[in-house]
């Protein structure tokens, strides 16, 4: 597969790993936060952590939109299905997110809720066309990558004058989340958790361009390297970050030049501005209220806004007390620091969002990295 296989070449990985070993200064630690669920997944699936020098650590940031979805939002989706009789369409990843009352979308479906997994927002629109007598709601989550497709769908619904389609909008914004992490007390206390730089998200950057990261690089004096989706991209980006740190630079560099430029996809951005506007504040699971971090549907498209259409009232719901997702999402704790990781909270029985999505730090560690915690090297005996 072109543009995929070449970027997974193990021989080149070894070369980059050797470079990293040569250049990472032995007298210091390097902590880099990757902020893209796809990167978290790539690091785990390809065992990249094992190829990095011991003093280079990857911290998993809140790059997984499913993980940062607060309980209260999933509750609204469940409400729409169970109490308002709507057909609720959602991406597969949201189905198992634990919400209030021991429910999830999967469990609500088992209780009779008409909840359907779709691959794209266009599928939800198609369901609305085919079932004019039913209300159809699309549960829209995701960062800037996923927002333009939702915008397109809302505009199409408006053009067609559909009377039974709406969107429960939970789209969130990357730069706001990064700011929130950098400005959080633990991180500012340099001695506590130094994050030396960021691996910028791959596909979000295709849409927003590299320009929005310049404020972090300059304002907070942290290097940012935008990395492609494949494991070689990630390793190369880590190398570029190590170099920036060594040379005391704090710039925005772009490793993903084959798909990202400074300004992003202008066409998609215009479409998003046409349909959405900024919310003043939005609750992120684990991070609390984050200002200017999420979108809502503009008044011009009000009839496609499920919150307005159904008169929904958002109610914040606290996480389980033992759940450390918040600290883990901020990069302050590791999955293994959580008391209930691997015991009460497992992929089969997730307590918090970090365990639900395969891009979540806890799920990724549980599935791919857990063996390293135990310190046993399994060897074949003769």
């Amino acid at each position: 597969m072109k543009y995929i296989d070449e970027f997974r070449d193990g021989a080149i990985a070894r070369k980059i790993a050797a470079r990293l070993r040569a250049e990472a200064r032995p007298d210091r630690q390097y902590s880099f936060m990757e902020f893209c669920g796809g990167h978290t997944h790539a690091i785990s699936r390809y065992g990249i952590s094992g190829l990095l020098p011991d003093n280079v650590r990857m911290v998993h940031g809140p790059g997984c939109p499913v993980c940062v979805l607060p309980i209260g939002r999933t509750d609204l989706a469940i409400q729409l299905a169970l109490e308002r009789g709507a057909i609720v369409c959602t991406y597969g990843d949201t189905m198992r997110v634990p919400a209030s009352g021991g429910l999830s979308l999967t469990r609500a479906k088992a209780r009779g809720g008409d909840i359907r997994m779709v691959y794209s927002s266009a599928d939800a629109l198609e369901i609305a066309r085919r079932e004019p007598g039913r209300e159809v709601v699309f549960f829209a989550i995701g960062f800037e990558t996923t927002t333009p497709p939702t915008a397109l769908t809302i505009r199409m619904a408006a053009q067609e004058g559909l009377a039974n389609f709406s969107v429960l909008c939970c789209h969130v914004l990357t730069p706001a989340a990064i700011t929130h992490i950098l400005a959080s007390p633990e991180v500012r206390r340099f001695a506590a958790v130094p994050i030396d730089g960021f691996v910028g998200p791959a596909h979000v950057s295709i849409l927003i361009g590299s320009a929005p990261y310049e404020q972090f690089a300059q304002g907070y004096r942290k290097p940012v390297v935008i990395a492609g989706f494949e494991p070689l991209d990630v390793m190369q980006a880590v190398l570029m970050l190590v170099r920036q740190v060594n040379e005391d630079r704090h710039e925005v560099e772009n490793e993903f030049t084959r798909a990202v430029n400074r300004h992003g996809n202008a066409h998609a951005q215009a479409l998003v501005s046409e349909v959405f506007e900024l919310r003043s504040s939005f609750e992120w699971r684990g991070l609390g209220e984050v200002p200017q971090s999420a979108l809502r549907i503009r008044p011009a498209f009000a009839r496609f806004d499920a919150e307005r259409r159904f008169g929904l009232a958002y109610r914040a719901v606290a996480d389980n007390k033992a759940c450390e997702c918040g600290a883990i999402l901020r990069g302050v704790k590791k999955p293994t620091d959580c008391r209930i990781f691997g015991s009460v909270c497992t992929p089969e029985n997730p307590v918090g969002s970090c365990m639900v999505s395969s891009e979540g730090a806890c799920a990724a560690h549980y599935s791919y990295g857990r063996f390293k915690d135990i310190g046993i090297t399994a060897e074949a005996t003769a």
Partner: protein
């Protein structure tokens, strides 16, 4: 004067549908059985028309019995259908015990309104699969449920087989140092079924690998009567789930070599597109064999000599590991754990 023969209008296969009468046990049901099921499965035991089949058993034989229900959706997919799948699947369960399958029983739960043409297509497919495998359907049952209470047709099959004395094949038998052999390429059944699901809508030439594996197993056991310790077919949950099951049963770990695991390029591409890992995708015509180190070469050669094992490969080893992890050396150069499947990857896949 001879009594006039009753005229019985034959079933209208082309336009007819299953109705509640077909499940009532009366004339209508008898006609369905005679004209549709018997016509396809025809064999002396079934012809007797008794409630059960009396079967001759070889003396001193140990019996193996296996059962499977099939609720696959859609009913027809590239490379097979619910009928052929139900024959292959249960035969394979018996074969994975190292047994030779002898007889099949099949029961059908039909939804009122199900087209007889589709039913005939399914039953004929089952009959072909059964004949090709040399395992007759000797007894069966049919029930009908009201429209909306069943999804077209559900099929449950049970297979009976015999295992030779001295054959000891079980999930708990794997030992550190044993060799893992895989009979062929992964993921085709899952991808073929998914390609038919409306919401995913992609075009591919991939066909399900659904096949009866008892012939392959017989060839393997002929190559080494006591070197094969574990046999299992990686169906729901794929190779990863199967290996984790065995690791748990045997109290061992495993170490796989990703570069040795065969996957067709189109299956890789489809998995890439859908965000799936081929290790977790269902197969219906493949098996995993865990062999003692000295028997591995002979067994692998026997697999490769058989049409269903042409792409067989050595994919890893069993290790000493109290934590029973299945680990893998990735193509990329790192090592990772291949964990159990969480949740439902692909609903109604078999």
């Amino acid at each position: 004067m001879r009594p006039k023969k009753d005229y019985v209008r034959p079933l209208d296969i082309r336009n007819g549908r299953v109705d509640m009468g077909h499940g009532a046990g009366g004339r209508s049901a008898a006609q369905l059985i005679e004209e549709l099921f018997l016509a396809a499965f025809d064999n002396p035991m079934l012809r007797q028309g008794d409630d059960g089949a009396a079967l001759p058993m070889p003396a001193g034989a140990k019996l193996v019995m296996a059962t499977d229900a099939h609720v696959i959706s859609p009913l027809f997919f590239p490379g097979g259908d619910i009928g052929s799948l139900s024959v292959h699947g249960t035969i394979n369960d018996v074969a994975m015990c190292g047994a030779a399958p002898l007889y099949l029983a099949a029961s059908f739960i039909l939804e009122e309104g199900f087209p007889l043409a589709d039913l005939q297509r399914i039953v004929q497919s089952m009959a072909r699969a059964s004949r090709a495998a040399g395992v007759p359907v000797v007894t069966g049952d049919t029930k009908v449920v009201e429209q909306g209470k069943g999804d077209g047709v559900f099929i449950s099959t049970t297979a009976l087989g015999v295992v030779a004395a001295g054959v000891n094949i079980a999930g708990a038998n794997a030992r550190p140092g044993d060799v893992l052999l895989l009979s062929g390429t992964l993921g085709e059944h899952g991808v073929a079924v998914l390609s038919q699901r409306e919401s995913l809508d992609f075009e591919t030439a991939i066909e399900s690998d659904s096949a009866a594996l008892h012939g392959l197993v017989a060839a393997m056991l002929a190559a080494s009567s006591d070197g094969v310790r574990v046999l299992r077919d990686p169906t729901r949950g794929g190779l990863a789930t199967t290996l984790n099951e065995i690791a748990r049963q045997s109290g061992v770990g495993m170490l796989l070599d990703e570069s040795a695991i065969p996957v067709l390029p189109q299956v890789e591409a489809a998995c890439e597109l859908l965000g799936l890992d081929p290790l977790y995708v269902a197969n219906e015509g493949k098996l995993i064999a865990i062999c003692s180190p000295d028997a591995a070469d002979a067994v692998l050669a026997a697999m490769r000599a058989h049409p269903l094992g042409a792409k067989a490969a050595r994919i890893g080893v069993v290790t000493q590991d109290a934590h029973r992890f299945v680990q893998m050396e990735t193509n990329f150069g790192g090592r990772r754990v291949v964990d159990w499947l969480s949740g439902e990857l692909l609903p109604r896949i078999c």
